[in-house]
Amino acid sequence: MANRPQILTDMQVSFCGSAGDGTIAAGDIFKRAMAEAGYQIIAFDVYPPEIRGFGKCIARTRVTFDQVYSLKPQSDVLLSLDDSHAIPHVGEVRDYGAVIYEDRPMATVEEGEHMSGHLKPAQLPYGVSFRELSERATSGARFRNIVAVGFIAGLYGLPRDLFHRTIGRKFAGKPAEVTESNIAAFDLGYDDGAKTFQVDINGFGPPPKRKKSEKVLMMHGNSAVARGCLSAKIDTFFGYPITPATSIMEILAKEMPKRGGRLLQTEDEISAVAAIVGAGFTGSRSATSTSGPGLALMTEVMGLGSIAEVPCVIFVSQRGGPSTGMPTKTEQSDLNLAVRGVAGDAQRIVLAPTNVEGCFKCAGIAFEIAEKYQTPVIVLLDLYLSNRYEAVALPNKNPFKLDATKWAKKPGKGDAYQRYKLTPDFISPRAIPGQQGMQHTITGLEHNELGRPNDQPAMHEAMSHKRHEKLKTAINYPNLTTSKRFGDKGRVRVGVLSWGSTFGECLEAMITVRKQGITCSAMKVVMISPLPVDEISRFMDDCDVVLVPELNYEGQFASIVMGTLGRPVHRLNRVTGTPMAVNDIIEEIQILAADKPKRRKAAE
């Protein structure tokens, strides 16, 4: 890049406190201001399952000049709004990183309960009177969190008016006093920060310049999914609320009616998916969204979608399982269900985006693919991806095709329309209700080309073949990256094969170990079903050993890869309910790389 600035910004700021402290709101203002300034952003909040109470909240934001793919293992700034929650996180602040805390707590603090007693030797302490400044600005302690944001902005010399604008937007629609109080609190914090000596040599350099042909917006995975749906001109949506998928439906509930679309909250997930099959039958672009428990309920109807050959799109955001599991924790354990959860042989298309921009692309393209191959398409996210924010550069031009259907011509006189006609590309030309002379009945029974029930051996073989072969060609669907390799080219010591949200951590780990002299490349697989076998195979040919890190106990993707390709991989599994730690992946790569090449023999 031509004019890279002196300081290449890479700052991770963590706000930590209890639910009542406004921790998440403080993180939100900070990340929105940084995104508006033009920086790259990755942000992810962790909060307790209870709506109210004193559970721990952490809002982490990584602000960078170059694009990065995950949060860092270490933060540059930890801001404590509640020491009892933040003390256990002191260790995640790097040397010469800042720890900012309340220096005049309300009540007497017992031995060991104040942050000041917990800092590591090289960390930089900043005691700030959040409460006092808040009370001076607004005669109330409620704005401690905003004072804190102001202090950070002042300390690092970030533009004051940028934050004023962000605060103004956040409270637009509320009485003017609300914005005024927030700005007053911010300013006192800012002034205090600005006069404090900033010791750390790392800080915020200028943000990157953005292209004119794109607009940069900060959004989370679910809102990127909703935008993808809207760009693809979704017609109908049917859904049932469930964490962490609900916000997809809530955004669409607001936006679809404005554009002539229709959305209905159904009585359960079975009705939601049955309704999108009904809508899909009429030619409507239709979708639903759910999480693991809802997906489990949907499997029977998705089988109907496969055999009756109806286009429809199912967005799934995974959470900790099994059963109700951990609704507010992330996991990648619904892969088996998404890929294989169905009665009978009914392969379906499963796309798993790896970042927020990917959520937008996969969401839109899912409608094209569903239409083209006349089948249900699952787009598989997880809580981490659904809720994490990134600054995304969206193209100004709509990238999606608005009709990908292979339409039928009206049959000649005396000929009947064949809904399930066997063709060379295995796709039968479609007709939809309202078209004259093409009436037909779709069915979940095995059928002949006309759609009439037929369970003869040759017919079931021919139709099973048709349904599976047509999906294979989806791997070559244009404008869709089904898999992609990054890092070292050619032969490498360790290859990291990854899917879904964990890919970001894998990429960061790969970049780090390459700096340590280990040859390494990382491949993301976006199309999980059908699997791009050739690409994965070529990648594995180049790797001494292959590591598959994923957030489930069983190594579900590893099993799919091994089962499909018949080649061994190493698993790395975590079920902590949090994103995979980059350091865990780095360590595993180092161990594999140090191993004698006898493993390589085993892999061949």
Binding site: G278, F281, G434, G444
Partner: protein, 287 residues
């Protein structure tokens, strides 16, 4: 009683049927039901009604679940979805929401509706989605060869209740009336003229119409809901029955020993489509 005097020639009869236009609504598949099954009357009545209402076959979609009754879509020449056991209503909801101008008719059995599909009925009714639900109640599971259903009578011996059914039957008419269906009627497969008339009215109604059809399964029920028994039980609704009075309708619906045939209740109120259009209007007006 038919007039024995005048001879009927098959050719002329076929000519007459074909001229009537009703055959346009029939598919090339012949119904696969047992001879004597009450379901034959559905095909006759629905095609006659569509013909009378001049609804184009391509503007009509028939949706069913799974069961003997649910084979229906294969026997008509409209668009059709033969879906899953219990899921006809949500599929139909998707079709109607996506394509308001289709006439959507749902057909199914009592197990399909009130056992596995029970969760969907209240919601279709309360939303007043503009579809017609024709429910064929034979009080048994036909397709799976004779097990108890939610409308089987107490003590009925079936494959899964060899010592007699211990569960009290549901009262579908009471349920639909309380769920807020905007058109609730009852007919009997043994009275095809009346059935046909009721189907016609049900399709013509704007909103969720529920037609309960008593229909014997001649193969697996030889003792309870037979033509003989039902024929003796059914009666008409009282002449002064007020079709806009939901309490009167419920009162009649309670008399399960003497099921009444006719229109129990009807009201005009906004449909789901009206509601969604209103939301669209509000969202575009920015409120």
């Amino acid at each position: 009683m038919t007039n024995i005097g005048a001879p009927v020639y098959l050719e002329e009869k076929l000519e007459e049927i074909s001229r009537s236009g009703r055959l346009d609504y029939r598919s090339k598949s012949l119904p696969t039901w047992c001879p004597g099954c009450g379901y034959f009357s559905i095909v006759e009545s629905v095609t006659a009604a569509l013909n009378r209402l001049e609804i184009d076959p391509c503007e009509t979609t028939v949706v069913s679940g799974i069961g003997c009754a649910s084979r229906f879509p294969f026997f008509v020449n409209t668009y059709g979805v033969h879906s899953l056991h219990g899921r006809a209503l949500p599929v139909a909801t998707g079709i109607k929401v996506a394509k308001e101008d289709q006439t959507v008719i749902v057909v199914g059995g009592d197990g399909d509706a009130f056992a596995i599909g029970g969760a969907h009925i209240p919601h279709a009714a309360r939303r007043n989605i503009d579809i017609t639900y024709i429910l064929f109640d034979n009080g048994i599971y036909g397709l799976t060869k004779g097990q108890a259903s939610p409308t089987s009578v107490l003590g009925f011996k079936t494959g899964t209740s060899p010592f007699g059914n211990q569960d009290r039957p549901l009262n579908p008419l009471m349920m639909l009336l309380s769920h807020g269906a905007s058109w609730v009627g009852q007919a009997y497969a043994g009275n095809p003229g009346h059935l046909s008339e009721m189907i016609c009215q049900a399709i013509a109604h704007r909103g969720f119409s529920y037609l309960h059809v008593l229909s014997p399964c001649v193969t697996f029920d030889k003792t309870t809901k037979t033509y003989k028994n039902l024929g003796m039980m059914v009666r008409g609704l009282p002449d002064d029955h007020d079709q806009s009075d939901v309490m009167a309708a419920m009162h009649e619906a309670q008399k399960t020993e003497q099921p009444a045939l006719g229109l129990f209740y009807t009201e005009n109120r906004p449909t789901l489509g009206d509601g969604l259009n209103e939301i669209s209007r509000r969202s575009q007006a920015g409120s």
